[in-house]
């Protein structure tokens, strides 16, 4: 009895030792040379793996940083402290940090925009857009299926009850993924200080816009006339604002007949009463 236990133990022990030797040599033979800084840099980065920098995840950017092929500011998610730390570690200049947030440039809620047809299919704005430009009357307006909300790696967006996405600008890092996935280019990145948002991207003439949405820009140019900063102009049937010149006085917002202009104060959407 005891001798069999001893034999068993001895055999297992010998096997264990043999495997350990094998593993030791394998670890040496298959060792991958890696810059140790890469792991440190990966930990310094926000770790969201959103891919906005263009590299594959934070470790991808870390490798490029360590090899001198990228700049710290390419990470739009990292805040200024993180960027300063990375820049100091690498021994480079941090560079200016320009924070951006995503804004929804459409005011076509389910109440105000015409729905031409119902839609049954994949719950994805891109997929819906591929079928005869979608079920909505306005082929430039938000489809409300929430692809941007799903794709946001930071959960900074929710789909509002009126059918439009809502961005929480305090959480939004400006990574730009929602901008890429929106098939209609409704999401745009702007500085969070930008006071005015034109909630429409439709280049159609006023009459066509009116036929499909009560909240779209009809290019009446009233805003252009009342602006004393020369900050807003109607170009190609769409009002466009120069955020640097705009002082947020709100004169255009008051006068706009379709209420497609909006003063934003960061967190809360200032909505006209429906």
């Amino acid at each position: 009895m005891v001798s069999s236990m001893v034999t068993a133990g001895a055999v297992m022990g010998v096997i264990g030792v043999l495997f350990s030797i094998g593993l030791f040599y394998a670890a040496r033979a298959f060792h991958v040379e890696e810059d140790e800084r890469v792991e440190l840099l990966t930990n310094m980065l926000p770790g969201a793996n959103c891919g906005a920098c263009g590299f594959s995840g934070c470790s991808g950017l870390a490798q490029a940083l360590a090899a001198g092929r990228a700049q710290p500011t390419q990470c739009s998610v990292a805040n200024s402290e993180q960027l300063a730390k990375i820049a100091e570690f690498l021994g480079v200049e941090a560079g200016p940090v320009e924070r951006q947030v995503a804004r929804v440039m459409c005011g076509g809620t389910s109440a105000k925009a015409t729905q031409l047809a119902g839609y049954v299919g994949l719950e994805d704005c891109r997929a819906a857009h591929l079928i005869a430009s979608g079920p909505k009357g306005c082929t430039y307006g938000c489809l409300g299926l929430g692809t941007c909300v799903q794709e946001c790696p930071f959960d900074a967006m929710v789909l509002g009850p009126d059918g439009l996405p809502v961005v929480d600008e305090s959480v939004c890092t400006g990574c730009g993924i929602c901008v890429q996935v929106c098939p209609r280019g409704i999401m745009q990145l702007v500085s969070p200080e930008a006071p005015l948002t034109v909630r429409c991207v439709s280049p159609m003439a006023g009459k066509q816009v009116r036929a499909v949405c009560q909240a779209g820009c009809i290019a009446c140019k009233i805003c252009e006339r009342v602006c004393d900063q020369d900050a807003i102009h109607v170009i190609d049937n769409l009002a466009r604002v120069n955020e640097e010149l705009c002082n947020g006085c709100g004169a255009c917002v008051e006068k706009c007949p379709t209420h497609c202009l909006e003063l934003t104060d960061g967190q809360v959407r200032v909505l006209e009463a429906v």
Binding site: A64, R69, A127, L130, G134
Partner: protein
């Protein structure tokens, strides 16, 4: 020259028996004529409140297009953007029919398709405003002046999609006109060989068609299996001559010119009768119309009016532009019939209500029917989980969007839509990578 059998495919079963006649319609009250062609817009020649006659030129190309003509006499009520079948708004001429039936005089015609010179044929094709429907609506005159050498001209009469009979019915009832156009096309291109491709369902027609052919024609008639999507050019050419045409490529790159029956018929009418292209045969079907059939429809007829003329019944909840497998549902009845409308289907109940989507049961039917030998089960799964790289590796870009997989899927999964989403994303990401700033910024 080995024929290559198309793998997969579905047999959807055309009802047997002779095709009905081509039905004519009273010209509708309103027409919406789009002034848009692939890549460019036309210049309208008419203004609001102007009166026009049937066959009068309404818009002119600026560049590589072709003119459009009024299908009937009437007054122009507006020149404004209108909804097209792709969902875009394009400039259109709104015409109100005055019922007078007045037409412009026809151009002089030829009795024999070999009388006009190739240049004259191309000029007439341009003047008569004939699009090459098989090439997506570009000017036929362009297809008749190929820039690469063409060995074989093919008349694609092989419609294997169910319900769509518009092409076949022209072969049955107006073959002489089609043949006139086809002979002229062969002459204009100068190809040594020509084929008329038919599906097995039209085998009884071979005798009648052959009678019109003479030794002068180098035209052979070939029969292809009646399995959708045999009629798609890629599989057509593989089956006829064993040619490998990559997905999305023009047949001219492999020395073929493929024409559809409607285009050849229009060319025949233009050359022989001097008539511009103003009407086309459209198959109207579905349980939303009481009188389905093949109608000769004026271009620009609104879908709503077409449904009324075909006997709208019940509430039409789904309106399909094109065939049931390759077409697309439209969101409005206010779209005018245009050159590439082979069929309009009206359903009282969308098929997705009858076959609701449930989880995949891994039956493998989609793999059995895919003519590209892809695995839609995996492709759609990758697409739905947004794994675009794996979808691309699996062959998402090779899909020809024929719809056979979704057709057979017992659980009603939107396979084609998922694969198209994957293609959209893959191409968009490629485009974004190409256009973006260089990622790698050298540190100073």
């Amino acid at each position: 020259m080995r024929r290559r059998r198309m793998p997969g495919g579905v047999r959807t079963g055309e009802p047997p028996g002779p095709l009905g006649p081509i039905l004519s319609l009273a010209d509708p009250k309103r027409l919406i004529l789009a002034c848009a062609q692939p890549g460019h817009q036309l210049n309208p020649l008419v203004k609001k409140r102007e009166r026009v006659v049937g066959g009068q030129r309404l818009a002119e190309p600026n560049g590589e297009g072709f003119p459009i003509y009024a299908p009937c006499a009437g007054t122009v009520t507006d020149v404004a953007p209108a909804l097209s079948s792709t969902g875009d708004f394009v400039l259109a001429i709104f015409l109100e029919n005055d019922g007078s039936g007045e037409t412009a005089p026809a151009l002089p015609g030829w009795d024999d398709p070999t009388d006009p010179t190739p240049e004259a044929i191309r000029l007439r094709a341009l003047e008569a405003g004939i699009p090459d429907v098989a090439r997506g609506g570009i000017a036929l005159a362009r297809s008749l002046a190929p820039t690469t050498p063409i060995q074989t001209v093919v008349l694609n009469g092989c419609t294997t999609e169910p319900l769509v009979q518009a092409e076949r019915v022209l072969l049955h009832h107006e073959w002489e006109t089609v043949l006139f156009g086809f002979r002229a096309a062969i002459r204009a291109i100068g190809a040594p060989e020509a084929i008329v491709a038919l599906s097995v369902a039209d085998r009884p027609l071979v005798g009648t068609l052959s009678q019109s052919l003479t030794e002068r024609d180098a035209i052979t008639i070939e029969i292809l299996p009646d399995r959708y999507p045999q009629g798609l050019e890629r599989y057509l050419l593989a089956a006829l001559r064993g040619v490998d045409l990559p997905v999305g490529e023009d047949p001219a790159t492999v020395g073929f010119a493929v024409f559809d029956v409607t285009t050849m018929h229009a060319l025949g009418r233009a050359l022989r009768d001097g008539q511009p292209f103003t009407h086309r045969v459209v198959t109207v079907a579905g349980d939303g119309v009481a009188r389905p059939g093949n109608y000769r429809v004026p271009l620009g007829m609104p879908l709503g009016a077409l449904m009324e003329a075909a006997g709208r019944q019940g509430t039409i909840r789904q309106l399909v532009w094109g065939g049931p497998l390759s077409g697309t549902a439209v969101a409005s009845e206010e779209i005018g019939v245009c050159a590439n409308t082979r069929a309009v289907l009206a359903y009282q109940q969308p098929v997705s209500f009858e076959v609701p989507t449930t989880d995949c049961i891994r039956c493998g039917r989609c793999i059995d029917v895919c003519p590209e030998r892809l695995s839609p089960i995996y492709l759609a799964r990758y697409a739905e989980h947004k794994r675009w790289d794996e979808a691309e590796a699996e062959g998402a870009l090779l899909c020809s969007s024929c719809g056979a997989c979704s057709y057979v899927c017992p659980t009603g999964r939107p396979l084609v839509q998922s694969i198209q989403l994957a293609r959209y994303e893959i191409l968009r990401q490629r485009e974004a990578e190409r256009a973006s700033q260089p990622k790698e910024v050298a540190v100073p």
